[in-house]
Amino acid sequence: VTDVADRPVRVALADDAVLLREALAAALAAAGFEVVGQAGDGPGLERLVERHAPDVVVVDVRMPPTHTTEGLETARALRAARPTIGILVLSQYVETRHAIDLLRDDPTGIGYLLKDRVVRVEDIADAVRRVAAGGSVIDPEVVARLLGRPRKQSPLDELTPREREILGLMAEGRSNAGIARALVLDPKTVEGHVSQVFAKLGLEPGTADNRRVLAVLEYLRAG
C-alpha cells in the first residue's frame, strides 16, 4: 500500500485493548501499511503523532481515563493541530450522532467505522487508504440504519432501488468514481444518478464530495 509519493502509508494506532490493537497492527502491516507506533490513550497517541507524523491515525472512541468518548476528543485535537492528518475512528457502537459531529467541523480525511470492520482486512485497508487520500468513510451500519429508519411520507420513497443504493454509497463517503467502481457502472451513469437523487431530495446540486457526506447524513437524520 503506497500513496502517490510511492511510499507506504504510515499509520499510528490508539486503543486500550492491547489484544485487539496488536491484532489490528499485524493485519495492517500484513496489508502493506507502515505501523509507526501504538498507544493506549489519547495523550499517548498525540505523542506518537508528534514524533512520527503519520499519515493516518486509527483511534478507538473509548479509552482511559473515563472510557467514554476520549477518542473523539483526541481526533478533534489532532485535527486542529494538523489539518492534513487522516483520522479513522473505530467504535464498538456506531452512532449517527457521533458520525455527524465528527464530520461537521471538517469532513476531509475523516472516517468512523464499527470496530469489527477490522475483521475484514481489505475493508479496513480500504478505509485507511480513503482517509489518507482525504476522503470520508462512514460505516455502512450507520447508513443502513438511517436508510432503513421507518418514516412517514418522504421524498426517499420516490428513489429507484438503484438511486437508493447510490445514496447509501454517498452516505458512506464514496466519491462518484468509488461508486462507479463498487457498482461496476460507468462514471457518467453514476453522475446522472447522483444529480437525479439530489434533485428528488431537494439537496443543493454540485456539493463537493467531502461536503456531500454530511449533507446526505443530515438529510437522512432529519427525515
Binding site: 473509548r62 468518548t69 457502537y93 449517527t96 450522532r97 470496530k115 438511517l146
Partner: protein, 584 residues
C-alpha cells in the same frame, strides 16, 4: 390561680409605687414656698392623666408578661424625673437641693437610653448595649460634676456653689457642646440598636417593639428640641417652645403608649390557648397540626419535631429528618406521662420572655393531637426510608448495568474481535482452509453483533456520553415504526436521565409489541424543577397499568424517583404514557 394573684399583686404594687412617686412630687410642688415656674408640671390634671397612663401601661405589661423586668427601668425613669422637684424643698442652705437638682438634672436622658436599649424585656441583650447605657449614666452625672468646678459666675446654674474652683466661661461653653454631642451620640446609637433588635426579633417580638420604634424617635426629637431651646434660644423663643403644650403632651404620652400598645399586641397569645383547646376538640386532620399551633402561639416560624422511628435524631411532621435547628431558636420538650419525649416545639425565643407559661400550656393542651401527629410522622419517616432505599436499589441497578456493559465492551467484544482478526490473518497463510475460515469469521461477527446489541440494551453509552435526547434519537433510529423525538439537548442529573431513558425505552418497546401503532412520539421538557415527558402512539389503546407488568414496572421506576406516572389509554384511542420526575 395563686400564680395569677401573685402576678397581679406585684403589678399593682409597682403601680402604687409609681403613684406614690408622683404624689410626693406634687406634694413638694404644693407645699413649696417658692414660685413654681415649670410650665406643665404644675398642670395637675395633665400630670394625673399622664401618671394614670404610665400606671396602666406598667400594670398591663407586668400582668401579661410576668417575666418582664422593664418596670424597674420605668420606675427609675419616673424617679429621675420626679426627683428634680426637690429643688423646691425649703432646705437651708438652699444650695443643697440646688446641687442635687443640678447633678441629677440630665439623668433622665441616660435612663431613657437605658430604657430603649433594654426594651422590651428590661434586660440588655449584649455587652455593647450594657456598655452604652452605663456610659450614658457616667457622662450624665460625671459631666455635671466637672461643670460645677468651672461654673463661670455665681448663680450661673447654682447659687452659692462651693465647688466653683476654676471659673471659666470658654471652658464651660466648649465642654457643654462636647457633652451634648456625646449624649446625642449615645441616643442615636440606642435608637439604631432598637431598630436592630426589631430586625433580630421574631414575629411576636417585632409586634411588641414596633410601636416603640415610632415612639422613641418622636420622644427624643421633641424633648431635645425643647432642651436646646432652653439652652441656646432667647427668652421669647424659649417661651414659644414651652407654650407648645400640645407638643409636650405628645412627647410625654409617646413612651407609655408605646409600652402599653406593645404589651397588648404581644400577649394576646394566652387567650388563644383556650381557643386552641376548642379547635383541637373539633379535631385537626393529621398533618395540619403545625399551623394550628403556630397560630395559637402567634409564631409562624414554629417547627414540630418528633423522635425518629429508629430513635436516632428527630423528624418533622412529614417524616423528613430534621436538620439541627438554627441557632437562636428555643426548644420546648413535650413529654408523655411515662417520661418519653413526645415532641419538640421549636419556637421563637421571644415567646419565653413574653409569656413563659404559654409554650408549656400549648404543649399540654395539644398532647393528644401531638401523639397522633407523632405516629403519623413516624409512619411517614418509615415510608421515606423505604422510598429512599428503593431509589438506592434503582440507582444501584443502573450502576450495575453500566458495569456489565463495560465488562462486555472491554472483555468479550474485544476478545471476539481480536480472534476474528487472527482468523483472517491465518486465512492468508492457509488458502486451503479459506472457506472454512471465512464461514467461521462470519459466525464470529454475528456473535459480536449479538453481544453488541445485548450490551446496548443493558446500557446505552450515548446516554451518559451525550444525554437523553441523543440516546432516545438512537433508539428511534432502530424502531420498527416512525418515532418522532422532541427532546431538548442538554444534560440532566444522571439518575433522572437514566430513569427517563429506561421508561421511554420500555414504553416504546410496548408500543411496537402491543399497540399496533402506525407511529409514536416521545417528548420531554424541563418545566421548573421537573422533567415532564410523554410517550404517545396512535395504536389501539386499552392498556391497563394494573394488569400489564411492563407498565407496572414503569410506574414503580418513576415512583422510586419520586415522580408521577400516568397512563391514558382509551380503547381505540392510542396510548399516552406521561410522567414527571423532580430534578432536585
Amino acid at each position: 390561680m395563686r400564680g395569677m394573684n401573685l402576678v397581679w399583686a406585684r403589678a399593682l404594687a409597682v403601680g402604687a409605687a409609681m403613684i406614690g412617686i408622683v404624689a410626693v412630687e406634687q406634694l413638694v410642688l404644693m407645699t413649696t414656698p417658692f414660685e413654681v415656674h415649670t410650665t406643665w408640671l404644675a398642670d395637675r390634671q395633665l400630670v394625673v392623666a399622664l401618671d394614670a397612663l404610665w400606671v396602666v401601661a406598667v400594670v398591663v405589661l407586668m400582668v401579661r408578661q410576668p417575666a418582664n423586668d422593664l418596670w424597674k427601668v420605668i420606675l427609675l425613669w419616673q424617679a429621675a424625673a420626679s426627683a428634680l422637684v426637690f429643688w423646691y424643698l425649703p432646705i437651708e442652705p438652699h444650695v443643697i437641693p440646688e446641687l442635687w437638682w443640678y447633678l441629677i438634672g440630665d439623668v433622665w436622658a441616660a435612663v431613657f437610653i437605658h430604657l430603649i436599649l433594654a426594651y422590651p424585656s428590661g434586660h440588655f441583650r449584649d455587652r455593647l448595649d450594657r456598655g452604652i447605657a452605663l456610659s450614658a449614666y457616667v457622662v450624665a452625672i460625671g459631666a455635671k460634676m466637672v461643670f460645677l468646678t468651672i461654673e463661670p459666675t455665681d448663680c450661673w446654674v447654682v447659687c452659692g456653689n462651693p465647688f466653683r474652683f476654676f471659673p471659666s466661661e470658654p471652658a464651660w461653653r466648649v465642654l457643654q457642646v462636647i457633652t451634648i454631642a456625646v449624649i446625642v451620640g449615645f441616643l442615636v446609637t440606642s435608637l439604631i440598636e432598637l431598630a436592630r433588635h426589631w430586625r433580630a426579633a421574631g414575629p411576636s417580638g417585632r409586634r411588641q417593639i414596633s410601636p416603640m420604634l415610632i415612639a422613641a424617635p418622636v420622644w427624643a426629637v421633641t424633648v431635645f428640641a425643647a432642651y436646646f431651646a432652653d439652652m441656646f434660644l432667647d427668652e421669647a423663643a424659649r417661651t414659644a417652645a414651652h407654650s407648645m403644650n400640645l407638643l409636650g403632651v405628645v412627647q410625654e404620652t409617646a413612651i407609655p403608649l408605646a409600652i402599653l400598645i406593645g404589651a397588648l399586641r404581644s400577649t394576646l397569645a394566652r387567650a388563644s390557648v383556650a381557643d386552641l383547646a376548642v379547635r383541637l376538640g373539633e379535631g385537626v386532620p393529621v398533618g395540619s397540626l403545625r399551623p394550628v399551633l403556630a397560630r395559637a402561639m402567634r409564631d409562624p416560624s414554629l417547627q414540630l419535631a418528633f423522635p425518629a422511628p429508629d430513635g436516632e435524631g428527630f423528624v418533622d411532621e412529614d417524616g423528613r429528618p430534621l436538620r439541627p435547628e438554627p441557632s437562636g431558636r428555643s426548644v420546648a420538650t413535650i413529654r408523655r406521662s411515662d417520661g418519653d419525649v413526645l415532641a419538640l416545639l421549636i419556637h421563637d425565643p421571644a415567646l419565653d420572655a413574653e409569656d413563659p407559661g404559654l409554650v408549656a400550656a400549648v404543649g399540654s393542651v395539644a398532647r393528644l393531637s401531638l401523639e397522633n401527629e407523632r405516629l403519623s410522622a413516624q409512619v411517614r419517616a418509615q415510608l421515606e426510608d423505604v422510598r429512599e432505599s428503593r431509589a438506592r436499589l434503582v440507582e444501584a441497578g443502573d450502576a450495575e448495568r453500566r458495569r456489565i456493559e463495560r465488562d462486555l465492551h472491554d472483555g468479550a467484544q474485544q476478545r471476539l474481535t481480536a480472534l476474528a482478526i487472527r482468523l483472517q490473518t491465518a486465512r492468508a497463510t492457509m488458502p486451503e482452509a479459506a472457506d472454512l475460515l471465512d464461514e467461521t469469521t462470519a459466525e464470529l461477527q454475528a456473535a459480536i453483533g449479538d453481544v453488541r446489541d445485548l450490551a446496548r440494551g443493558v446500557h446505552p453509552t450515548l446516554l451518559h456520553e451525550v444525554g437523553l435526547a441523543a440516546a432516545i434519537d438512537a433508539l428511534a433510529e432502530r424502531a420498527t415504526i416512525p418515532v418522532e423525538v422532541d427532546i431538548p439537548e442538554g444534560r440532566l442529573p444522571e439518575p433522572i436521565e437514566a430513569t427517563a431513558y429506561f421508561v421511554m425505552a420500555e414504553a416504546l418497546t410496548n408500543v411496537s409489541k402491543y399497540a399496533g401503532a402506525g407511529r409514536a412520539r416521545v417528548t420531554a421538557r424541563v418545566d421548573g424543577d421537573r422533567l415532564v415527558a410523554t410517550v404517545e402512539d396512535d395504536g389501539r389503546g386499552g392498556a391497563d397499568p394494573s394488569l400489564g407488568s411492563g407498565l407496572r414496572g414503569l410506574a414503580d421506576r418513576v415512583a422510586a424517583a419520586r415522580g408521577r406516572f400516568d397512563v391514558n389509554s382509551p380503547a381505540g384511542g392510542g396510548t399516552t404514557v406521561s410522567f414527571e420526575l423532580p430534578l432536585a
